[in-house]
């Protein structure tokens, strides 16, 4: 088969890429130019296809360099790409300051692929005012610190207010329990014309991620510490409750649609096209729903995750290259704090975003300088400024903002990607097989998750 040749070429190219990377310079360079100036490479620069965001980033680099003449920033396009991370690291091409999702730090710390910044963090202003559960994600068992969180999200329920109205539901009182979600999904599906009540994801580890979110919402979890060991914790009544609800919605109510093995983009497309009533997601979905998928801010409502027990939190942050010198680490932390964790820039950034018709008032970043990572006074200040400059219908998200305080927030399980891969099967089983044996699905996934967690132990 000719595609076979292409596959082999791809595999060869990947292997060759790694090798060439391994044979690469292997050297970050001193990074110190004449005159004692420190040069650091940083990623996170938006692509040229996002001209506004890129302009803001480049302007920030210029402003930072003016304020810190001793530091020279070399910006690089892109964020975290797991497919190239190892090759970049091996070839000495990884940026000094690199972006991570909050699922990444645990593995990077375990593999010693990020710098220990414990001795430098004391000089980072406002570090102690960052939400402790976010700081913990970058901290190992010995209390050593490896990075800074710069934005976070909590999972909620996105819903289409127009479809709610058409289905005779009140868009101002979104569902608060899974039974209410089920009822609303039934009514929305009954509108016909390929309209679907709820969409759930089930492939490429996104199913496992959502199953975990559902477990948190009903007061469960997917992994727990048993002594000093992590073990699976979903093959129980809570796990069965979640799986049975999903199975019933798919096969009894037909409110989850016939097409399965969905990913986030599939749900966003359906939602933007006005064909989907609800999906579980974070507030950062709202701008792409409008800008990329043809949605409208007025149509999008956001509710806290139903179930009332808890929600999953995630987000992003920055870590430092393990080969970075102490001077580069100091310079890198200065950049991260100035750009992403800078209360002094909160108002000016919000104002400039609002002036350029960027959405302000969503319960999430952007802009990064006003990211939702703070506690105490800074959190209050941020909320007040966000309200002051709001240009989106904030009342549509008020239920989410109010309800979030009631929910306990849980981070993702250890070895998250492997755990999610195993849990994908539970979602796929209940969503694609009418005769699914839920007990067997949970038991099979439990054995796989225990194996994944054994690597952490």
């Amino acid at each position: 088969m000719s595609t076979g040749i292409q596959r082999r070429t791809l595999a060869l190219a990947l292997a060759a890429g790694l090798t060439v990377a391994a044979c690469g310079s292997g050297d970050d360079g001193g990074g110190e130019s004449a005159g004692g100036k420190i040069t650091i490479t940083v990623n996170g620069q938006p692509a040229k296809s996002q001209p506004f965001e890129r302009k803001v980033f480049d302007a920030d680099v210029a402003a930072f360099e003016k304020e810190h003449p001793e530091i020279d920033i070399e910006p690089r396009e892109g964020f975290m790409d797991p497919t190239t991370f190892a090759a970049k690291l091996a070839g000495g091409q990884l940026e000094d300051v690199f972006y991570v999702y909050l699922t990444d730090p645990a593995n990077l710390i375990a593999r010693r692929q990020a710098a220990d910044i414990s001795d430098f963090v004391k000089d980072v202003p406002h570090y102690e005012e960052i939400q402790p559960e976010l700081r913990d994600i970058f901290t190992d068992d010995q209390g050593k610190i490896y990075g800074l969180p710069t934005a976070n999200y909590s999972m909620g329920l996105l819903y289409n207010r127009t479809l709610f109205t058409q289905a005779g539901l009140d868009p101002n009182t979104p569902p608060t329990t899974w039974d209410e979600v089920r009822e609303a999904a039934r009514k929305i599906t009954a509108l016909g014309n390929n309209t679907q009540g709820l969409a759930e994801l089930s492939r490429n580890n996104q199913g496992g991620w959502h199953f975990t979110t559902w477990m948190y919402s009903v007061g469960g979890q997917v992994a727990k510490k048993d002594g000093d060991k992590w073990v699976a914790d979903f093959n129980n009544d809570k796990g069965r409750e979640v799986a049975e609800t999903l199975h019933a919605m798919r096969w009894e109510d037909n409110s989850l649609g016939a097409k399965q093995l969905l990913e986030f983009e599939d749900a966003q497309k359906m939602f933007g096209a006005g064909k989907l009533g609800m999906f579980v997601g974070a507030p950062d979905n709202i701008p792409p729903l409008v800008n990329q998928f043809g949605g409208d801010y007025a149509d999008v409502g956001l509710a806290p995750l139903p179930g009332g027990q808890g929600t999953l939190i995630g987000g992003e942050g920055y870590m430092l290259n393990p080969k970075a010198t102490p001077d580069k680490i100091r310079a890198g932390l200065t950049w991260i704090q100035w750009k992403y964790l800078n209360p002094d820039r909160m108002e000016s950034t919000l104002k400039s975003y609002a002036e350029q018709d960027q959405p302000i008032g969503l319960p999430t970043a952007p802009p990064n300088a006003a990211a939702d990572v703070w506690t105490g006074e800074l959190q209050e200040k941020q909320k007040a400024l966000r309200e002051k400059y709001a240009n989106v219908p904030v009342e549509n998200y008020q239920a989410f903002v109010d309800g979030l305080t009631e929910l306990s927030k849980h981070i993702e399980p250890p070895n998250a990607q492997q755990v999610y891969a195993a849990l994908d099967n539970v979602m796929q089983g209940v969503l694609t097989n009418k005769d699914a044996d839920i007990d067997t699905l949970l038991a099979d996934a439990e054995s796989k998750v225990n194996q994944a967690l054994a690597q952490v132990n």
């Binding site: 292409q6 596959r7 292997a15 391994a22 692929q113 016939a258 694609t432 097989n433 690597q455």
Partner: protein
């Protein structure tokens, strides 16, 4: 380039004296200097992009690496991790199933199409182009196109089934049909090349053989069985070998279309390898898996070539 470069080696016969031998070797090297020069570039590229990564991959199978500190030798630990993974056995089973189905469907159909095309008296070039067209589509485009065909709601196939009042299928969303659905896609996308090769082989069969068979009263099936297949046997064997080696490395279709689901029914060896390397960041275990696949395919290829040679 001088013509001497392409000249065959001269053989004067009889054991040469040592001085003669050195002189002849020197002459041979000088004669072929230009060829060695050209070969050198290819060898460097092969060494850098093929052989060195293979050797490095073998070493990685026995190491744990983080690309920061020195690699740590871990013996057979990566293989133990692999054998303890329930997906390892599932991936082998799925890959062999894909290969088996691809042999039944993807091997027989192009040959049958080639035979039919060979018999055409009109519009042969047109149909050859039609059959070959899908090969020109990028594999990712093919996978996305077929995802729509297979969509259980408004997809092409279920719409057609509905039109004829037939029961709809879940295609990719059903563990029973997901793998065969992928095989159909792979066959559709690649059969053009195989068909052209079979057509070329069919064109080399002397027409007298068919005439003689017809005079002997052979019907179409008998002509196919006693003339066409024996005459194209070598091409068929080579194509089968290539197909087995290629299909055991199936990746694009499950990666794009199913992500390995539903319920691991389309997790193939290369998809598992990809997950270890690029999702779990575990290059040691990924290399161990690639080494196992390499050994199995290598052994299979050697065995098959030997059989082919013996039978020839």
């Amino acid at each position: 380039m001088s013509t001497t470069v392409l000249a065959p080696p001269r053989d004067t016969g009889g054991p040469p004296a040592p001085a003669d031998r050195v002189g002849r070797l020197r002459r041979k090297v000088l004669d072929n200097l230009t060829a060695y020069g050209f070969l050198c570039a290819a060898l460097v590229v092969f060494a850098l992009f093929s052989w060195y990564p293979i050797v490095r991959g073998v070493l990685l199978s026995f190491q744990q690496v983080n690309f920061i500190t020195d690699p740590e030798w871990v013996g057979w630990q990566n293989f133990q991790t692999l054998f303890a993974d329930p997906l390892f056995g599932i991936a082998w089973r799925n890959t062999l199933l894909f290969t088996g189905l691809a042999l039944v469907i993807g091997f027989a159909i192009p040959f049958a199409v080639a035979v039919v095309l060979n018999e055409l008296r009109h519009a042969k070039p047109y149909f050859r182009i039609v059959v070959y067209l899908p090969v020109m589509l990028p594999p990712v485009v093919v996978a996305i196109l077929w995802k729509w065909f297979y969509d259980p709601g408004p997809g092409l196939f279920n719409s057609a089934l509905r039109l004829f009042g037939l029961p709809e299928l879940s295609w990719l969303d059903d563990t029973g049909t997901s793998m065969i659905s992928l095989v159909i896609v792979a066959t559709w996308a690649s059969m053009g090349s195989a068909t052209l090769i079979y057509l070329a082989a069919l064109a080399t069969i002397p027409g007298e053989l068919y005439e003689a068979a017809e005079l002997d009263g052979a019907n179409v099936w008998q002509r196919l069985r006693h003339v066409t297949i024996p005459q194209t046997r070598f091409v068929l064997l080579v194509m089968m070998l290539m197909q087995i080696v290629a299909t055991m490395q199936v990746f694009t279709e499950p990666y794009i279309m199913t992500g390995g689901g539903p319920e691991d029914s389309t997790v193939t060896l290369l998809l598992l390898l990809y997950r270890y390397a690029f999702v779990y960041n575990d290059f040691g275990t990924a290399s161990a898996l690639s080494l196992l696949l390499f050994v199995v395919l290598g052994a299979f290829s050697a065995l098959y070539l030997r059989l082919t040679r013996t039978r020839s």
